[in-house]
């Protein structure tokens, strides 16, 4: 039982990272039905931006006291801003012209964009993994038999808070309403006076900014990053978005946490389970899609953003 609870924590914190990336995937898909394969690389870019800011601030280890809040805020906001702008730039350069092209064209462009970002990052920080300062102290909280690191709590809480913030933004603000309208019918939305270019750019800004935050958090959590980090994480996050119902914000978070939990439990309870985690994850995905083709929450909340 103790081990089960410990694996629950492991799974949730791993899933939290997936969830944060999946939110951006699902937003972009929701509004223009594009699988933005470059999103995983924007997430890696976020960790490099954050690393650059931390280096600029002269942070190389743990920070304590009030300075911690300042350092974290400055770094996260800078990483989010840089990633957000990168996302907007990618949309403007690579996707906008192809908005009315056949589906395959923007998909291939997205893959190309992903290669460009990977190569730019390889040029910038080299091909080898680079270490990331731990920044946040990681006291272990002993909850009965289980140990939870402060960083694990941070990952889980951030994912949940971001999800609720996004939900509020999309369902309670005018801009959110414009996004929902654009997602439902782009032409009609335009006729109603919504500037769809700005709305779509805004979607990329927010989605990519979330990836930037995830990049910072994963850097702090794992203590390392490298240019190819986003490939595997992006793939899992995309799977999470599909599992939860692509286009659905709550679904992306649910899918992320589920995949993290499945990986942790498969590792623990299947003999030699570590090598079978991907098989188990994708088997669950196939089963879910057979019975619920639009994902776990895909139908109950049909509005896409």
């Amino acid at each position: 039982m103790d081990v089960f609870l410990q694996q629950l924590v492991n799974g949730l914190s791993l899933g939290g990272i997936y969830a944060l990336i999946a939110l951006g995937y699902t937003m972009v898909y929701g509004i223009i039905e594009l699988i933005n394969f470059a999103h995983g690389d924007v997430y890696t870019l976020g960790s490099f931006f954050a690393l650059a800011v931390l280096t600029g601030l002269g942070v190389s280890g743990e920070v304590h006291g009030p300075a911690l809040i300042g350092v974290v805020l400055v770094t996260v906001l800078a990483a989010m801003l840089c990633c957000g702008l990168t996302g907007v730039l990618i949309e403007r350069l690579a996707y906008r012209r192809l908005r009315n092209a056949p589906r395959l064209a923007p998909l291939i462009t997205a893959i190309g964009m992903s290669f460009i970002l990977e190569n730019v990052m390889q040029l910038w920080r080299g091909p080898s993994p680079v270490s990331f300062p731990s920044v946040i102290p990681n006291p272990i909280v002993h909850l009965g038999p289980i140990d939870i690191g402060a960083k694990q709590i941070l990952v889980i809480v951030t994912a949940v808070v971001m999800m609720f913030a996004l939900q509020l933004f999309i369902y309670r603000t005018r801009l959110g309403k414009a996004m929902r309208a654009t997602a439902q019918d782009r032409d009609a939305a335009q006729l109603m006076g919504i500037d769809i270019n700005t709305t779509i750019a805004l979607t990329f800004l927010i989605g990519s900014a979330l990836a930037g935050a995830a990049g910072f958090i994963s850097g702090v959590y794992y203590g390392t990053t490298w240019f190819f980090n986003g490939f595997e994480a992006g793939l899992k996050a995309f799977t999470a978005a599909v599992l939860g119902g692509i286009g659905n914000i709550a679904g992306a978070m649910l899918g992320g946490f589920l995949i993290g939990l499945i990986e942790a439990m498969a590792t623990q309870y299947i003999p030699q389970g570590a090598q079978w985690t991907n098989v188990v994850v994708f088997s669950v995905l196939v089963l879910v899609l057979i019975f619920r083709p639009s994902g776990l929450l895909g139908e109950s909340l049909p509005e896409k953003v």
Binding site: G11, R92, N119, P127, I140
Partner: protein, 425 residues
């Protein structure tokens, strides 16, 4: 957010330019070498002065494995430079033709096979050095065997590549082997690892490997030998390629209470992150023990301070303890700015052996370009060859006759030499 069309075009052009730069930087070596190939191709018959003779070099030169590949590549290049400086019989010039087998940041057997085919189809290539990794070697051995192209690996340690029932399977010329190596094999490395672990007083081990030819082979030998020596193996798990979060696996391992975690695999396939995360789940007190796959700088930089207290074996001698290596260490430092790697000297030795074989074949052919078969015959006959890593030669399987293993402990972010054993029989 309204950019003018012209501005968009400029930005798009810029990003394409960046892409082009990115591509060229990741494959600089292959481009520079391919530029020299048209001039060299296919004039085997006339021994005109300065005709290049190529030696194909095949290592992971980018990605996480580059900290292994580049120092090894440099070792081979140093030997070629020295040979050209000393003068090649017949007035030929040796050219290093190096290709990268890393795809998406990790060594890749399919890319290795592709590179080998490139060497084979270039008639100016008379011998080949590489690869670094055993799974890549497994893909390449049938190709060089078929073409009769002599190939020496400085670091591929999986015993099954040269020995055992599967070694000769699928070879077109099982009687004329073309693959040789100057490193010790994992049947010896795994056994030595088990002995060292017992000497450290470890009794309960948990074995993890990366499921590759090298890693799984090494881990299996360790498990078998550790059990044979009276130790208990609590479990044996395999990692997924590309995985980065091992907390769940480590929680499982921790619950079984091992006093040693043995890792078969390379740093980039999970070793470095596994060790790093042992600290996160409160296992930093458990000894981490690996093979030569974690002997690179990547392990130290990625695992950071958690790397301290780890042990690893190396399938090569410690150079600083060898008087024969002093000149090599000096020459390496004078020529390259990348630090010397654990397999630089092996790679240098492999190149030296091939150069000697080619030069002997040139002389025997009346100062004309020899054929690959003559070179291969000379390489196979190598014995008592003086090199920085000692006197080397090849046995009937193509393995080194001087298997030496060293043990290292990581202290304060640096590998500290512990001891060395010579396992020659």
């Amino acid at each position: 957010m309204r950019l003018g069309n012209a501005a968009v075009r400029v930005l798009a052009g810029l990003s394409i330019g960046v892409l082009a730069v990115g591509c060229s930087s990741s494959s600089t070596t292959s481009q520079s070498s391919s530029a020299s190939s048209p001039a060299a191709a296919g004039d085997n018959s006339n021994a005109s002065g300065g005709t290049p003779i190529k030696i194909g070099i095949e290592f992971p030169l980018s990605g996480g494995d580059a900290s292994n590949g580049i120092p090894s590549d440099n070792g081979a290049k140093l030997a070629i430079q020295e040979a050209n400086k000393a003068g090649v019989p017949g007035g030929f010039t040796f050219v290093a033709d190096d290709l990268d087998d890393a795809v998406q940041g990790t060594h890749d057997p399919a890319q290795g096979a592709q590179n080998t085919k490139t060497f084979i189809s270039d008639s100016a290539v008379l011998a080949m050095i590489g690869p670094f990794n055993s799974n890549v070697a497994k893909a390449e051995i049938p190709l060089t065997n078929d073409a009769g192209l002599a190939q020496i690996s400085p670091a591929a340690t999986n015993p099954g590549l040269t020995k055992g029932p599967d070694a000769k399977k699928g070879l077109t010329h099982p009687d004329v082997i073309a693959f040789f190596r100057v490193c010790t094999t994992d049947d010896k490395q795994g056994a030595a690892g088990a002995t060292f672990a017992k000497e450290l007083g470890k009794k309960k081990a948990f074995v993890v490997d990366d499921n590759e030819t090298y890693g799984k082979g090494l881990a299996d030998v360790f498990e078998e030998q550790f059990k044979a020596g009276g130790g208990t193996v609590l479990g044996h798990e395999h990692l997924n390629k590309g995985q980065g979060d091992f907390k769940a696996l480590l929680t499982k391992i921790k619950s079984q209470g091992p006093d040693l975690v043995f890792y078969g695999g390379t740093s980039v396939t999970g070793g470095a992150l596994l060790r790093k995360q042992m600290g996160d789940v409160g296992m930093s007190g458990v000894t981490f023990f690996g093979g030569d796959g974690i002997s690179d700088d990547n392990f130290l930089t990625t695992a950071g301070s958690s790397a301290n207290g780890s042990y690893y074996t190396l399938a090569a001698p410690e150079l600083s303890k060898l008087p024969s290596a002093a000149n090599f260490i000096k020459a390496y430092a004078a020529n390259f700015k990348d630090p010397i790697g654990p397999y630089s000297a092996n790679s240098y030795t492999a190149a030296k052996i091939e150069i000697a074989a080619i030069e002997a074949a040139i002389k025997a052919n009346g100062n004309k370009v020899p054929d690959r078969a003559a070179v291969l015959k000379n390489v196979a006959a190598t014995h008592g060859f003086a090199s920085p890593i000692g006197t080397v030669g090849f046995d009937a399987n193509g393995d080194t006759t001087a298997p030496i293993l060293s043990l290292y402990k990581i202290e304060n972010g640096k590998a500290v030499f512990v001891k060395q054993v010579n396992l020659s029989t």
